[in-house]
C-alpha cells in the first residue's frame, strides 16, 4: 500500500492506546453530560410544559421566564456558548480549561436542548388522560411522575438518543478548551499532522459508537411503545 495520501506512516502501537484513552474521555464527558444535563433538561422541560396556561401547574410568570431563557440560550452555537459561559464556568468549576470546564458548558447546552425536546414530547400526550387522572384525585406531582413521564416514555427515549449524538458533537468541540477526547485527538494527531488514517480511525469509532447507541435507543423505545 503506497500512494500520495500516505504522507505519514502511523505507529499504531503508540497511537492505539491514545485512541482508547481519548475514547474513554469522550465517553466520560458525554455520559456525565447526558446524566446531569438529561435530568436538568427533564425538569426544565416538564416545568415548561406544566406551567403553560391551562396546564396542571399553570403559572404565567414562571412559564414566560423559562420560555424566554430557553429561547435565548438554545440557538447559541456551542463554541460561542463556551466562550459566553467563561466567567460562570470559572465561578462554578474553578477553571475555564480542561475536561471539567468542557463538561460544564456541555451540561448547560444539553439542558436547554433537552428541555425543548421533553416539552415537545409531553405536548403530544392526550390531555384527556390528564383529565382522567385529575378526576381520579391525582395531584400535579403524581400526574407528572405516574402519567406524563410513562405516557411519553417511548418518544422521550428517542429524544435522548438524538441528544446523545448532539452531545458527542459538542464533546468534539470541547477540544478547543483543552477538553481532549476524540475530537481533539482527530484534530491534533490526524488533521494537524496530515495523518488521514488517524482521522479515519476516529470517524469509524464515532460512527460505531453512535450506531450502537441509536440501536439501543430504538430497541428501548420499541419496548416502551410495545410495537
Amino acid at each position: 500500500m503506497s500512494g500520495i495520501v500516505h504522507t505519514v506512516t502511523t505507529d499504531w502501537g503508540q497511537m492505539f492506546p491514545l485512541l482508547v484513552e481519548n475514547l474513554g474521555l469522550t465517553l466520560y464527558m458525554v455520559v456525565v453530560t447526558l446524566i446531569i444535563g438529561g435530568l436538568l433538561g427533564l425538569v426544565l422541560g416538564i416545568l415548561l410544559y406544566t406551567t403553560r396556561r391551562g396546564n396542571i401547574l399553570q403559572n404565567v410568570v414562571v412559564f414566560n421566564v423559562l420560555n424566554v431563557v430557553v429561547n435565548i440560550v438554545r440557538p447559541i452555537p456551542f463554541i460561542i456558548l463556551i466562550a459566553t459561559l467563561g466567567p460562570l464556568t470559572l465561578a462554578v468549576v474553578g477553571t475555564t480549561i480542561g475536561s471539567n470546564a468542557a463538561i460544564f458548558a456541555m451540561i448547560v447546552g444539553a439542558t436547554f436542548g433537552i428541555a425543548r425536546i421533553v416539552e415537545q414530547n409531553l405536548v403530544t400526550i392526550d390531555p384527556g388522560t390528564i383529565e382522567a387522572a385529575r378526576a381520579a384525585g391525582a395531584g400535579p406531582w403524581r400526574i407528572i411522575f405516574t402519567l406524563l413521564v410513562p405516557e411519553a416514555l417511548g418518544p422521550l427515549i428517542l429524544g435522548y438518543t438524538f441528544v446523545f449524538i448532539a452531545i458527542v458533537d459538542m464533546s468534539a468541540i470541547a477540544g478547543v478548551i483543552g477538553g481532549r477526547g476524540l475530537g481533539d485527538f482527530a484534530i491534533q494527531y490526524g488533521y494537524a499532522r496530515f495523518n488521514w488514517e488517524i482521522t479515519f480511525a476516529v470517524v469509524v469509532v464515532i460512527v460505531v459508537l453512535v450506531q450502537l447507541v441509536q440501536f439501543l435507543g430504538n430497541w428501548l423505545a420499541r419496548k416502551a411503545l410495545r410495537r
Partner: protein, 341 residues
Amino acid sequence: MPTIVQFEAVSKTFETKQQTVTAIDGIDLSVEEGEIFGVIGYSGAGKSTLVRLVNGLERISAGRLLVDGQDVGRMRESELRKVRLGIGMIFQQFNLFQSRTVAGNVAYPLRVAGWKKPDRDRRVAELLDFVGLLNRAHDYPDQLSGGQKQRVGIARALATSPKLLLADESTSALDPETTQEVLRLLQKVNRELGVTIIVITHEMDVVRSIADRVAVLEHGKIVEQGAVFDVFSNPQTDTARRFISTVIRNQPSDNDLDRLQKAHTGRIVNVEIHESLRIGSILSHAFSDHGVQFEVVYGGIGAIQERSFGSLTLELDGPETSVDALIAQLGSVTTVEEVRA
C-alpha cells in the same frame, strides 16, 4: 331520597382573550341519591362544563354547589382531590392510560387513594370481573375495541366505590349496539351497586334507555326538567320536542301531512297513546256506535321507562256529527288533536 348534587343559581364564565363566555347561566338543579339523571343538550350547550363543575375540574363562578353535602365551590384544590376519590368519571374518548395495562388503568385510582398492593389486586380483579374483562387484564388499551375500552373506563371510575358516577358523552364514540351494551352496564352499576349516575348526552336514545329524570340544557340554562316520561309525553319547549322526535317519530311532519291530505278524504286526527288507555276498544266500536270508519295513517308507539307511549294519526270517515261524537269520546280518555277538518 336525599339529594347528592345540588346546584343553586350556579354560573360558570370563562374569560378568554377576546370575550367572556357564560357556559353555565344560573342553574338550579338537584340530583337525588340512587337515580340516573340525564342532561341533554346540543353541542356547546354547556353539558361538559356542567358535569366538570361537580367534581371541581372546573370551578363555579357564582352560586352554590353542594356535592354529598360538601360545598365544593368553596374548597381548595387539595380538599377537592379527596372529594374526587368519591366521584367516578367516564369520558367520550375513554381517556385510558396507554402506558398501562387494563389492570394498571383500573388500579390507578386505588394507588392515588393509597391502597396496598394485595388489596389493589383483589379489587381490580373484582372490578374487571364485574365489567366482564377479567381475561383482558394484562392487555393494553390499544388492543381493545371501543366498547371494551369504555368498560375499562367504567371499571376504573368505580375503583374506589364512589357514590356518584359522571358520564360525559360516554357512548357517543360507539356504534348503536355497543352503545346499548355500555348503557346496560351503566344500568347494572346503578341497580346493583346503588351508584348515582349523571349522564351527559346529545342523544335522546341514551336518556330514554336509562335515565329516570332529565334536564334539557340550552345556552347554559335548563329549559325543561322532570321525569323522563313526563318530558317525553308532554314536552314544553321546541328543543325538547326536537330531541324527542329523534327517537319517536310519531307525529306526521308538514310534508307527511300534505301527503296524507292528498291520499285521504276523511278528517285526520292525532291521538296520544298511553299504556293504560283502551283506545282499541273505542275504535273497535266506532262503526257500531257511531257509524264511523277509521284508518290508521301514521304513528308510532315506543317505551320509555317501561311504559308505552306514542301517538297514532287516524283518518275518520263518516257523517260530520258522528265523527264529532267519536272525537269527543276519544277526547274523554286522551288528548286528541284534529290536524285537518
